[in-house]
C-alpha cells in the first residue's frame, strides 16, 4: 500500500509540476489575463507540492512554522486564482468578486495568526478544526462556483471549447473532492485507503486539468471532428452554390457552428449588414463594432462577424484557424457566384433583348443533326421551351411554298463563307403563319469542313404586313392617280372631239354670213346689215373659242419633240406681229434665255401674254416689257409686264381659270382661255406662271425649271 501511495504521490508531483510548466509557457506565449491566472494557479500548486516534500513533516522551529504558513497561504491561493481565471472571461461580477477577495483575505489572515497545531492530528484543538473547516468551505465554494461557471459557459460552444471547459469544471470538482476527503481524514499521515483515494483523485484531477488547459493534439483532433465534418459539409455546399444568396445561407450557420457562436452576421465592404443568423439585422449592425466580443473574418465580400462569447478566444483558438480556412473557401465560392450571377444577368438581358426584338437564335450541328434553340426561338415557333428539335421537324414547319428556297439557301450557307439571309414563312402548331427573316453562317471545324450552322431568325410578320399594307396603300394611290389621269385624258379627248366637230358648222356659218354681206349687202337695210354684223361677231367668237379649246386640249394630248427655242428671236417676232394691230403701243424685249421646249407652245405662250397686255391694257399706248428676272443653273424666270390697268389682287389666281374674263366679251374679243392655255403649257414644262405684285399695271411671272432650259443659256446677250 505504501508503495502504491508513494508511486501515486510521485506521479502527482510530476503531473502538477508539468502542469505548472505548461501553464507558465502558455502565459509566456500569450500574456493575457486568463493565462496569467492559470499560471498562477498551477504555479502555486506545484510550489506547494514540491515544498511540501522538501520541508520536514514536523518541526517546531519558527522559521519552519512560517514556511508552513506560507505554504498554506499559497495553497489557499489556488482556489482564488482559479476563481480569477474563471472570472477573467466575464465582466466583473461585483458580488462574487468581493466575496472571493474577502474570503481569501480572511482565510489568509487566519492562517497567519494561527498558532501551530500541537499534538497528534487526531486530537487537535477545536479551533484547528474550525480553521480547517473554514478553509475547506472557502475552497469548496470558490471551486464549485468555478465549476458551475465553466460548465454552463460550455453550453453552445464548439466541441473542443465545450469539452475543455467542462473537463476543467470536472477537474476542479475532483480536486475539491480530494481535498475534502483529505480534510476529513482522521490521520492524514497514515497511509490508508483514503490516502490512496486522495492520491488517485489528485491524479485524475491533474489529468483532467491537462485535458482542460493543454489538451494533446490527438485529443483536440478527436474532439474537433464534429466541427470538421460541419466544415466539410459547408465546403461541399459552397462548391455547389451558384448564387451569392446560397453562399450567404451556408456561411452564416456553418460559421457559427465552427466557432460555437451565438450569433453571426455578414457585412459588406461598406459595413452594412447583408445578412444575419440567430440575431436580427438591427442588433447586428448595432453591435458590429463592439471591440470586445465579436470575431471578425475578412472576406472578399466584406466581413463575417461572429459573436462567440468571451471564452472562445482562449478555449477555441484552433477553431479560429478553421474559420480562416473556411474563409478562403467562402471567398472562392463568393467570387464564383458573383461571376455566375453577373453571367446570369447578362444572359437574362440578352434573352430580354431577344424577346423584345422577337429575335431567336439557333444552332445546327451538322454532324449530329442536333438543333439548339434559344428561348425566344421556341416562342417564335410556338413550341414549348426545351422541346427537342430536329432539322426534319423544322423543315416540316416551313411553309410548303417556301420549302425549296429554304433548302437551297441552307445548302448555300453550308458551302459558303459569308453569312446568308432569306425571308421565309413558317406554320406554327396552331396554324398561324409567321414570316421570319433568317440569317445564318457556317462554322468550320478543324480542317475546314463545315461543323455547324449558327444564326438568327427574326419574326418580321408584323413588318411584312405593314409593308404589304403600305404597298397596297401605294398601289391604291397609284390606281387612283391613274384613274384621275385617265378621266382627265378622257375629258381632254372629249373637249377635243366636240370642239373639232363644232368646226364644220362654224365654217359654214361664217362662210354664208360673209357671202350674204358680199353678195346682197347693198340690198339690205342698215338694220339688217347690223344683224348680220352681230351674227358674224358671235360666230367669230365661237370660232375663236373652239380654236382655243382645241389648243387647250391639245397641249396635254399631243406630245411634240422639244427643240431649242431662242426666245431672243421668237419673242420679238411675236411682238412685232401683235404690234401690227396695236400701232400706238410699244413692246420692249430684253435679253431672254434659250429654252428647250415645244416651239409652238413657246410661241403660244408669249402670243397670249403679250397679246393680253396689248388687248387688256386699257389704253392704246400701253407699254409692254419682256425681260429676264433670273437665270441660273436651277432655272429661269421671265417677266411680261405692262403699265396698263392691272389685275385686282382678288383675281390673280382666278384669271387662270378656263373662261375666266375680267371684261365683257364685247370689249376685246378674248375667249378667256388664253391664260388657261399659258398655265397648262407652263405646267407641262414643270414650271409655273403667276401674277406678281406690281406698282402699276400687270406683271406676269413665268418660271421655267432647269429641265426647260437649253444647255447653253444665252444670258447677257443684247436683245435685237
Amino acid at each position: 500500500m505504501v508503495e502504491v501511495a508513494v508511486t501515486i504521490q510521485f506521479v502527482n508531483n510530476v503531473l502538477f509540476a508539468a502542469l505548472a510548466l505548461v501553464a507558465y509557457r502558455q502565459w509566456r506565449a500569450r500574456r493575457d489575463e486568463p493565462t496569467a491566472w492559470v499560471a498562477a494557479t498551477f504555479g502555486v500548486l506545484a510550489a506547494v507540492l514540491l515544498a511540501g516534500h522538501v520541508l520536514p513533516e514536523q518541526s517546531s522551529s519558527t522559521g519552519l512554522l512560517w514556511a508552513r504558513k506560507a505554504l498554506m497561504a499559497l495553497l489557499l491561493l489556488f482556489p482564488y486564482a482559479l476563481y480569477r481565471f474563471a472570472a477573467s472571461f466575464q465582466p466583473r461580477h461585483g458580488k462574487w468578486d468581493r466575496f472571493a477577495g474577502a474570503s481569501f483575505g480572511a482565510v489568509l489572515l487566519v492562517t497567519a495568526v494561527l498558532p501551530p497545531a500541537a499534538g497528534a492530528p487526531g486530537d487537535r484543538a477545536w479551533w484547528w478544526t474550525v480553521y480547517v473547516a473554514g478553509a475547506l468551505a472557502y475552497w469548496s465554494t470558490l471551486s464549485i462556483y468555478v465549476s458551475v461557471q465553466l460548465w454552463r459557459a460550455g453550453h453552445g460552444k464548439s466541441t473542443v471549447a465545450r469539452r475543455r471547459m467542462r473537463v476543467l469544471a470536472a477537474a476542479a470538482s475532483v480536486l475539491n473532492a480530494a481535498l475534502l476527503i483529505a480534510g476529513s481524514a482522521p490521520r492524514p499521515d497514515d497511509v490508508t485507503w483514503s490516502t490512496v483515494a486522495i492520491g488517485v483523485l489528485a491524479t485524475v484531477s491533474a489529468v483532467l486539468f491537462f485535458m482542460g488547459f493543454a489538451p494533446p493534439r490527438l485529443l483536440r483532433v478527436a474532439w474537433r471532428r464534429p466541427e470538421e465534418l460541419a466544415l466539410q459539409q459547408a465546403q461541399l455546399g459552397l462548391m455547389a452554390a451558384t448564387t451569392p444568396r446560397q453562399v450567404l445561407d451556408l456561411l452564416l450557420p456553418h460559421g457559427m457552428a465552427v466557432v460555437g457562436a451565438t450569433g453571426a452576421a455578414l457585412l459588406d465592404t461598406h459595413g452594412r449588414v447583408v445578412g444575419s443568423a440567430a440575431v436580427s439585422a438591427e442588433w447586428a449592425s448595432a453591435h458590429a463594432d463592439d471591440d470586445a466580443d465579436p470575431l471578425r473574418l475578412p472576406l472578399a465580400s466584406g466581413q463575417l462577424v461572429l459573436w462567440a462569447g468571451p471564452h472562445t478566444p482562449y478555449f477555441g483558438r484552433e477553431e479560429l484557424d478553421l474559420l480562416a480556412r473556411f474563409g478562403v473557401v467562402i471567398d472562392l465560392a463568393w467570387v464564383r457566384c458573383e461571376l455566375l450571377e453577373h453571367q446570369r444577368e447578362t444572359m437574362a438581358r440578352l434573352e430580354e433583348a431577344q424577346r423584345i426584338a422577337r429575335l431567336g437564335a439557333w444552332e445546327f450541328d451538322l454532324s449530329t443533326g442536333a438543333i439548339t434553340w434559344s428561348r425566344e426561338m421556341y416562342r417564335i415557333c410556338g413550341l414549348e421551351e426545351g422541346t427537342p428539335v430536329t432539322f426534319g421537324a423544322f423543315q416540316r414547319m416551313v411553309h410548303p411554298e417556301d420549302a425549296d428556297v429554304v433548302m437551297a439557301e441552307t445548302a448555300r450557307t453550308i458551302e459558303g463563307v459569308t453569312p446568308t439571309s432569306m425571308d421565309y414563312r413558317i406554320v406554327l402548331p396552331d396554324g398561324a403563319v409567321r414570316t421570319l427573316h433568317g440569317q445564318g453562317q457556317v462554322v468550320r471545324g478543324a480542317g475546314g469542313a463545315p461543323a455547324r450552322l449558327v444564326g438568327t431568325a427574326h419574326d418580321i410578320t408584323e413588318r411584312k404586313a405593314a409593308e404589304h399594307a403600305l404597298n397596297a396603300a401605294y398601289e391604291g394611290e397609284r390606281a387612283a392617280r391613274m384613274a384621275y389621269e385617265r378621266a382627265n385624258e378622257e375629258l381632254e379627248s372629249f373637249v377635243y372631239s366636240v370642239s373639232h366637230d363644232l368646226k364644220s358648222p362654224i365654217i359654214s356659218l361664217l362662210g354664208y354670213l360673209d357671202y350674204l354681206k358680199l353678195d346682197y349687202g347693198s340690198l339690205l337695210p342698215p338694220e339688217a346689215l347690223h344683224y348680220i354684223e352681230r351674227m358674224s361677231s358671235s360666230a367669230g367668237y365661237m370660232e375663236a373659242l373652239i380654236q382655243d379649246l382645241l389648243e387647250l386640249s391639245r397641249i396635254g394630248r399631243v406630245q411634240t419633240e422639244p427643240a431649242v427655242v431662242d426666245l431672243d428671236r421668237v419673242v420679238p417676232e411675236v411682238a412685232s406681229e401683235l404690234s401690227a394691230s396695236h400701232p400706238a403701243a410699244s413692246v420692249h424685249v430684253d435679253a431672254l434665255p434659250t429654252l428647250l421646249v415645244n416651239p409652238v407652245r413657246a410661241r403660244q405662250l408669249f402670243t397670249n401674254l403679250i397679246g393680253n397686255a396689248l388687248d387688256h391694257g386699257g389704253r392704246a399706248d400701253v407699254h409692254v416689257r419682256v425681260r429676264t428676272e433670273h437665270a441660273g443653273p436651277d432655272g429661269a424666270t421671265v417677266v411680261v409686264e405692262d403699265d396698263g390697268r392691272g389685275i385686282p389682287p382678288a383675281y390673280r389666281e382666278k384669271v387662270f381659270g378656263v373662261f375666266e374674263r375680267l371684261e365683257t366679251p364685247d370689249d376685246d374679243g378674248g375667249t378667256g382661255i388664253g391664260l388657261a392655255i399659258c398655265r397648262k403649257v407652263m405646267d407641262s414644262l414643270g414650271g409655273s406662271i403667276a401674277v406678281a405684285d406690281a406698282a402699276q399695271g400687270t406683271r406676269m411671272c413665268l418660271t421655267f425649271p432647269a429641265s426647260a432650259l437649253a444647255a447653253a443659256a444665252s444670258t447677257g446677250v443684247a436683245a435685237s
Binding site: K503, S504, I507, L510, Y515, Q547
Partner: protein, 147 residues
C-alpha cells in the same frame, strides 16, 4: 399651159362646204375653171373614171378632196386614184377639217399631193382656196389630159 378651162373636182359631203369651196374657186380672180362637185367617194370615182352618171366626162385637172365622206371615204378615193396608173398623175389636194397627224401622214403615204386643213374663217377659206388653185393652175405643170 393650156388655154382651155381647167377642170376641178370638189368632193365633200357637207353641202355648205361644197358651196363655199366652189364659190371661193370661182371668186379667185384670173382663173377659168370648170368646177364639179360631188358629195361622196362613189360619185367622185365615177367622175374620175368617166362612168355612171358622169360617163364620157373628161378627167379633171385637179381634185380637192375631203376625207370624211359616206359610202366611199376620201382616203379610199385617194388610194385608188394614186394606185391607178391612168389617174395617178392628177394632183389631189386633201382639204379636210381633220388636223390629226395620222390622217395627214396617211394621206401623204398613199400619195396625196398636199394636205390642207380647212380654214375656219371665211376669209381664210377664200384666201386659202385661191392660193392653192393659183398654185396648181399656174405654177405647177398640169398633166396632159389628152384632149
Amino acid at each position: 399651159m393650156t388655154t382651155a378651162p381647167i377642170r376641178v373636182l370638189v368632193a365633200d359631203d357637207n353641202e355648205d362646204h361644197r358651196f363655199l369651196i366652189v364659190r371661193a374657186l370661182r371668186d379667185a380672180d384670173g382663173l377659168a375653171l370648170e368646177v364639179d362637185s360631188v358629195e361622196d367617194g362613189e360619185e367622185a370615182l365615177d367622175l374620175l373614171y368617166g362612168r355612171g352618171k358622169f360617163a364620157g366626162r373628161a378627167r379633171p385637172h385637179l381634185v380637192l378632196l375631203d376625207l370624211k365622206m359616206p359610202r366611199v371615204s376620201g382616203m379610199e378615193v385617194l388610194e385608188r386614184v394614186k394606185a391607178d396608173p391612168a389617174l395617178r398623175d392628177i394632183p389631189v389636194v386633201v382639204l379636210s377639217s381633220s388636223d390629226r397627224p395620222e390622217d395627214v401622214s396617211e394621206a401623204y403615204r398613199v400619195g396625196g399631193n398636199s394636205y390642207i386643213t380647212k380654214p375656219s374663217t371665211s376669209a381664210g377659206m377664200r384666201a386659202g382656196v385661191a392660193e392653192l388653185s393659183h398654185y396648181w393652175t399656174r405654177l405647177a405643170v398640169l398633166p396632159d389630159t389628152g384632149e
